[in-house]
Amino acid sequence: MHPWIGAGDEDRRRILAELGLDSIDELFSSIPAEVCVDRLPMDDGRAENAVRSELQSMALANLSPECVPSFLGAGVYRHVSPSVVDSVLSRAEFFTSYTPYQPEISQGTLQVIFEFQTLMTRLTELEVANASLYDGATALVEAVLFSHRVLRGKRNTAVVAETIHPMYRQVLNTYADSAGIEVVTVPPGPDGRLDPDRVREAAEEPCCVAVQSPNFLGIVEDLPGLAKATQASGALAVQVVTEAASLGLLAGGGRFGFDVVCGEAQSFGVAPGFGGPHLGFFACSEKHIRQMPGRLVGESVDEEGSRAFCLTLSTREQHIRRAKATSNICTNQGLMALAATVWLESIGGHGLRRLAMSCLARTEELKRRIVEIGAPWQLAYPTSPTFNEFLLVGPGTGPELVERLANEGVLAGVPSALWDGSWPDGIVTAVTECNSAEDLDAFVCALKRVS
């Protein structure tokens, strides 16, 4: 017996008797004996308190960034987390339900997704957004495959900015090969920004040009120029966003003619969680809706004419189209989309703007004070515009500096040399509204001690 198993021993005997069986083993008679085992070589079940302390001991063996001034970013950000978010996420009506295939008893989940889709279209300034993808990296993959489909598979090169998160590019490489797509990488100019002319020259007839803004180095790209350069080649323009909070202050790529804006929305109320689950998103223009991957909720009415929501365009999906589906994605990140929806609706439109302004102000303040300290510390791209992240170089390699600053009690960021790229070896430092003036002081003091 176990608390999570509904039938006790007597129940089992009673059901077996009803089935006319002597032993439960008879129910498994179709499994050939040569693949069977008597028991698994592992411990038997344990009580709740034992499991709790085992898991707690693993949790306590980690250093929680809540406890020290933390400037870690590079795709995963620490933002405010209203208590409301986890309270809603803990509602069993949401977290223990399935994909809303039965609209009559799933209007809660369906309406949440509809609201999420609407929020994301407003932030990206595009017409349609799906119900989520696994994460930012796979969202980039889906965007490239989407572009390939929209152009009917006739263009097999994808132009990708080197300043897209290097991990995303690695993930793209994993998929591109089997899809028959060649990935061409364009490095940034000396200011860390992508030059539209170099994009134009990168490939003859690409299916897409993908750029990230703000990019891996924190720098805001020339989106209007890049969109124009892309459109001239007949390719689709793809904007990747890893720091979704930037959309509170920066216009979405849709405004400049980007065909796809996609990426990671972990910033919207999703815990860092050692890398997952996070929240991939994907928005595009309406004319390409039938090529869009992932689930979509639409508004309709019920038999009595009341507004009701349901999954729509399901025929693009694997459970109907099978081998001809736009993507093999099935389970996605529904609960994380709920988190983002609650978070955005708590923060509000003006609130999101203020939050982004706060990130910007704190980042500019820290940059100013670093410039003040001077040698051996410096900003790698001092004149380039940033939102809430920048590349810092100093007396040593990135990993060394991160370690020395950690010893001074500050998690200063992520070493840029974790991945190869044409950027200096330093620290990618992120500043959010959670970094107080005291955190900035601590950072500056630590820098002064490490020189």
Binding site: R91, P100, T174, T331
Partner: protein, 493 residues
């Protein structure tokens, strides 16, 4: 007390219609000098005006989502017998451990010395899954079952390439879940269907004819989507291996034989495990899930990076390996889902996991026994954890499986799966899962029997169902013809 029946809830965008300033959350005070955005950013890139959605108070937010939640059915409400989806209880202990700040709050790119506990947790779950499957390698990266499938097929592709053997085809049974053929095509292969034999399992003669040097892999769901165990599984594996192919096992239904049989002994080269099915992590209204893939020796070199390695008591991450297929996603997997699964596995242990499968199979057979007189059973072989009926008895009264499903809602139960297996027309695929009490399973059977009687005595009652849900049948045709996939204010259509 009269309780307010919640049937609908305005959209967030319809709240605060005057768009006055309200506050839903107080941000940390700005304790640094304010910056004018256009002075430090290119002005054309700055969003003007603010993001266009309302600000509402905290209580309004809470009420909004509370009311929305009341429109959902959930596992905590009653039986959720979706076949193949395994809607079991989501233990509350999982939710506690996954919220430990030392797990939920840590950043994936902190120095390894600061995250030894998290790396150990990954390593421990890997070891547990290897033990449970009897397979020597594993990756926890995949975010869901379909993602695991793709990971497995890409590893197989890489292994074939490594020996200079380029193949074009993946064989998939006609009973397979739709993700299987979609995955094969996504991985660059052609998906070819293997017909099912008359007993519902793979037609071995057909496989013998089809399995040639063009076939990279055979994807098999064990037990299959009809709830039937591929009893010739070892013969099938041998046939595939002898001809240079690989066996991919779809572990969506693994929950029917945990602790009784090992996929490793069946000859599987790769198998994904849906942690959100077998190992109790919540479905979350459509994810997040997790789809770790266990592999045979032949595929270990090709596992995705980054990988966790162990040296004594120190754990590290291996980021590069030329033989690897590369990363399948960002970071190391849906880590907080992995935390829940490890919590579940440690709680149940060897004895509990076996009992879990036992009761899952027992319940399915109880349903089968009670309903087989009222509903038609296309394949009469022994059922495992789920049983597939069809509506051929009821269609005589012009009642279809979808009508039966909608009528079940009136009885307070979630309907079974109907969209597949495609080889059963009008399918009703029922999987009770082990966590409910037997009385709940019996009540479900009673409801199904009552509906079967209604199909004869009052078919219109069933065809016009549901009668007692927050909304009635939704016009899906209208939703698809007249696409409205975001809210647009009425005055500016």
């Amino acid at each position: 007390m009269k309780r307010r029946a919640i049937r609908s809830e305005p959209l967030f965008f319809e709240r605060n219609p005057r768009r006055v300033q309200r506050q839903g959350y107080m941000l940390p005070a700005l304790d640094v000098p304010e910056v004018e955005p256009t002075e430090v950013l290119p002005p054309e890139l700055v969003r003007e005006p603010d993001p266009d959605f309302p600000d509402i108070s905290e209580m309004e937010v809470v009420q909004h989502f509370h009311r929305l939640s009341q429109l959902n059915y959930a596992v905590d409400e009653g039986l959720y017998p979706l076949g193949s989806c395994t809607m079991k209880y989501n233990p509350r202990l999982n939710e506690v451990t996954a919220r430990y700040p030392g797990l939920a709050g840590i950043h994936p790119l902190q120095p390894e010395s600061q995250v030894q506990g998290a790396l150990r947790l990954i390593w421990e779950l890997e070891e547990a899954l290897k033990t449970i499957t009897g397979m020597p390698g594993v990756t926890l990266q995949p975010a869901a079952g379909a993602h695991g499938e793709l990971t497995g097929i890409l590893m197989i592709r890489k292994a074939l390439e490594a020996r200079g053997d380029v193949r074009q085809v993946v064989l998939v049974p006609d009973s397979a879940h739709g993700t299987n053929p979609a995955t094969a095509v996504f991985a660059g292969y052609r998906a070819v269907e293997i017909p099912s034999g008359h007993d519902g399992t793979v037609d071995l003669e057909a496989l013998d004819r089809m399995m040639d040097e063009t076939v990279a892999a055979v994807m098999l769901t064990v037990p299959n989507t009809l709830g039937l165990f591929e009893h010739r599984i070892t013969e099938i594996s041998k046939l595939v291996h002898d001809r240079g192919g690989f066996v991919y096992m779809d572990g969506a239904n693994f929950n029917s034989f945990v602790g009784r049989a090992l996929p490793g002994l069946m000859g599987a080269d790769a198998m994904h495990i849906n942690l959100h099915k077998t190992f109790s992590t919540p479905h979350g209204g459509g994810g997040p899930g997790a789809g770790p893939v266990t592999v045979s020796e032949a595929l270990i070199p090709h596992l995705p990076v980054p990988r966790v390695t162990r040296d004594g008591d120190t754990f590290s991450l291996l980021w590069d390996d030329p033989k690897s297929i590369g990363p399948m996603r960002g970071f190391y997997g849906n880590f907080l889902i992995l935390v829940r699964a490890l919590t579940y596995i440690q709680s149940l242990g060897a004895d509990g996991l076996r009992a879990m499968s036992d009761v899952a199979v027992l319940y399915a057979n109880l349903v089968r026994h009670r309903l087989k007189g009222a509903y038609h059973l296309k394949y009469d072989a022994p059922s495992m954890h789920e049983v597939v009926f069809d509506d051929s008895v009821q269609t005589r009264h012009e009642v279809h499986n979808t009508d039966i499903a909608k009528r079940l809602l009136d009885y307070g139960f979630h309907p079974p799966t109907m969209s597949f297996p495609l080889i059963v027309h009008g399918a009703l695929m029922i999987e009770p899962a082990e966590s409910v009490d037997p009385e709940e399973v019996e009540a479900f059977c009673d409801a199904m029997l009552a509906i079967a009687r209604e199909c004869e005595t009052d078919p219109n009652l069933v065809k016009s169902a549901p009668h007692d849900t927050p909304v009635k049948r939704v016009d899906e045709v209208r939703a698809a013809r007249n696409l409205k996939v975001r809210w647009v204010p009425e005055e500016s259509p």
